[in-house]
Symmetry: C2
């Protein structure tokens, strides 16, 4: 039996919520109860209100005691999308992490669990190092979460499969809507730095062989990722080729597309100056500006001289893609598992880790995954991008991406056209 600390535990949720982030919360609570609470090492289980913001509040003002929450209620919370504890966009620096550590001391916290993306992993890393330097024994665990799927070391991240499921279903319906009335339809999908979610649009067409021309693909005909430099001229030529042949064109575009110099297209097309967040980023989500800007470009370029403008429509998939209350079953299960695994690592005497998901089996065998662990520093602040093998040319994803993503999203309806 390893040397286990006695004290309290705290759990927080950070960054953009997902449809299954509360499964991870429930997983940590469940894992603690059957482990460190049962063995008498952990007394109380606290939840941070709005992430580390709650932990730095005076006394225990920003903490919620989860010790007594009953199983039925915990399960109901687990099934509910979006951070039940509240979330935060704060990205703690060294000084902020000192306050976090003070909050831990104040509440006799020895086990720190943070559910979030690469910034949350970094918070865990800094807090862990500060605690060590100060001689305060603290175990720090990062539990992965992000619809962007951009964490290193992971096969994929909890939250992504549910968002990918939403995007797949939306594109399936939208392709038929586009076929009904014709014209050009632009769908802007979340994912600032990684195009995994926009790539998931391709699932709407099933598995298609690589190498078909855009006009010969089942919709979506065109997919643009942040990983592939975006050229406005090439984009307009792509759209024109599809529209000329089919009288319609369905497009999936990541909000994070950028030009060959790495500059984001979104801000360039937006009116005025976009809002800048704490990370120095211009706000891309929660606004239709990129989609509207692209639609304007297409309309201008494809209107014949003195002729009629084509029908061009843009939908910007907003927050619904990360909070739709019918998540992917695989995601539901894995999000629970990573939370439980973090608590098990703590019960096993680990001092710190980032929990990761590893795929152990894929179709034609049954899809299976298991949890593993990585160093906090190998996940913290780093971004995983869509790898080259998942990208096909300048405007599509590969069949290899389909094989990677399809098992994650669950059943998709079988649709039939005339």
């Amino acid at each position: 039996m390893p040397d286990l600390l006695s004290g309290n535990a705290v759990i927080g949720q950070s960054g953009g919520p997902t449809a299954v982030i509360n499964q991870s919360l429930a997983g940590v609570v469940e894992g603690l109860r059957t482990g460190l609470v049962a063995s008498g090492k952990v007394g109380r289980i606290f939840g941070m209100r709005h992430g580390v913001r709650g932990l730095v509040k005076p006394g225990a003002d920003g903490l919620l005691d989860l010790s007594q929450i009953d199983k039925a209620r915990l399960e109901a919370v687990a099934r509910t999308p979006s951070a039940a504890l509240g979330s935060t966009r704060d990205k703690p620096d060294e000084a902020y992490c000192e306050k976090i550590l003070a909050g831990c001391r104040r509440n006799d916290i020895r086990y720190f669990f943070y559910i979030g993306g690469n910034d949350s992993a970094d918070t865990c890393r800094i807090v862990s190092e500060k605690a060590h330097a100060a001689g305060y024994e603290l175990r720090c665990f990062h539990v992965p979460k992000t619809i962007d799927n951009d964490l290193l070391e992971n096969d994929h991240t909890p939250g992504f499969p549910s968002a990918a499921r939403y995007v797949s279903l939306a594109l399936m319906g939208d392709a038929l809507d586009n076929a009904s009335l014709g014209g050009i339809k632009i769908n802007v999908i979340m994912g600032r730095n990684a195009g995994f979610l926009a790539a998931a649009a391709s699932l709407a067409r099933g598995r298609a062989p690589d190498g078909a021309a855009p006009q010969d693909r089942p919709p979506p005909h065109l997919i643009y990722l942040p990983e592939v430099p975006f050229s406005t001229d090439a984009f307009l030529a792509d759209v024109e080729a599809v529209y000329a042949k089919l009288g319609r064109c369905q497009i999936a575009v990541s909000e994070g597309i950028r030009d060959s110099a790495g500059a984001e297209i979104g801000p360039k097309l937006m009116r005025g100056v976009g809002e800048v967040d704490a990370h120095g980023n211009v706000q891309l989500s929660g606004s239709g500006a990129l989609g509207d800007g692209l639609a304007d470009l297409v309309k201008t370029a494809l209107t014949p001289k003195g002729g009629k403008a084509p029908r061009v429509r843009a939908d910007t998939f907003g927050y619904i893609q990360r909070c739709w209350p019918h998540p992917s079953p695989v995601d539901t299960e894995e999000a629970r598992a990573v939370g439980r695994y973090a608590a098990e690592l703590a019960a096993g005497g680990e001092t710190s880790a980032s929990v990761i998901i590893l795929r152990t089996s894929n179709p034609p065998d049954a899809y299976r995954s298991e949890c593993g662990r990585a160093k906090l520093a190998s996940v913290a602040r780093r971004t995983r991008h869509v790898p080259a093998e998942f990208i096909a040319g300048s405007n599509d994803v590969s069949a290899a991406f389909h094989d990677y993503c399809r098992p994650l999203v669950g059943d998709l309806p079988k649709l039939e056209r005339l």
Copy 2:
């Protein structure tokens, strides 16, 4: 036995598609097969490609022969969202209807079924009158369809329950996302002339008593319909009151909101000149401009002098709300029933009608509805609005609306907060 015409039948789909419009197509085919086809009166069943556009094409170029489609395929099509035959935005005038009549003569069509909204009912009416005047015996039936729920004579219209289900689920998830990170969230919902779909946002909160102040309501805190004159000043005061108390505010707004003079707010807030369609309307859907404009207004008004702007986000619910491939079960059943009923009216010797839905039982008893018939002229070109009893003050809907709408949308998940 009434005097029944011998000839072919044609079915068309018009206007914005819905998630269940193909159920109505399948219903007409099914009803014809067991009726007029079985009795030898109807020979072939044609589908119009892109509505009446297909019927006015030379010969039978724009028609699809549905006579031989097998039952399994028909069922698969029925389950598929968006017009399987293709749709059109054409709004036929007298001259256009002459061409439609010529298409009927050319293809020996004696039974004309048109699935659509009030414009489609009007097309049926004009074609029916022209046929009568010309001495060409033609039976014309309008099958109701519109997510806007704006047809007179109907309790509600096929397509609306599925769109309302999507909106309810989206608002449920979005309310929690908004609670996670705080700030002001604006959701723009389809419905140019009638606010039923925006009103359906209220289902996300369950049944709430009338009369609570906005900040004391469960979210959505504020709902704006085209039926209630929209005042920018009142809107900003509403938002400020909720945000001041809760630090967040969830808003549902119909794309068709207008001021006390009846002028639409959308075009006023849009950059440049919006696109104008064949009906003389500025394009509201397929653009984030109204949401972004409202967000700008809120941000400007609620930013304290020299202080930090509140977090304001806008999502414009686009085409996904009418094509999401998981429709409401009630809607699925009723959309099938109205199609079948139209074919039954034809088999019963009726010369023309608009099929309507009547509610015969509501909770606490089991919800039940049946089909009925109205005169084409009583549905054609007329618009039903949200009645006063469903509206609560300037920024909400009533509990009576909940009782009306809730049985239509099917099961909603039970969510739990901490």
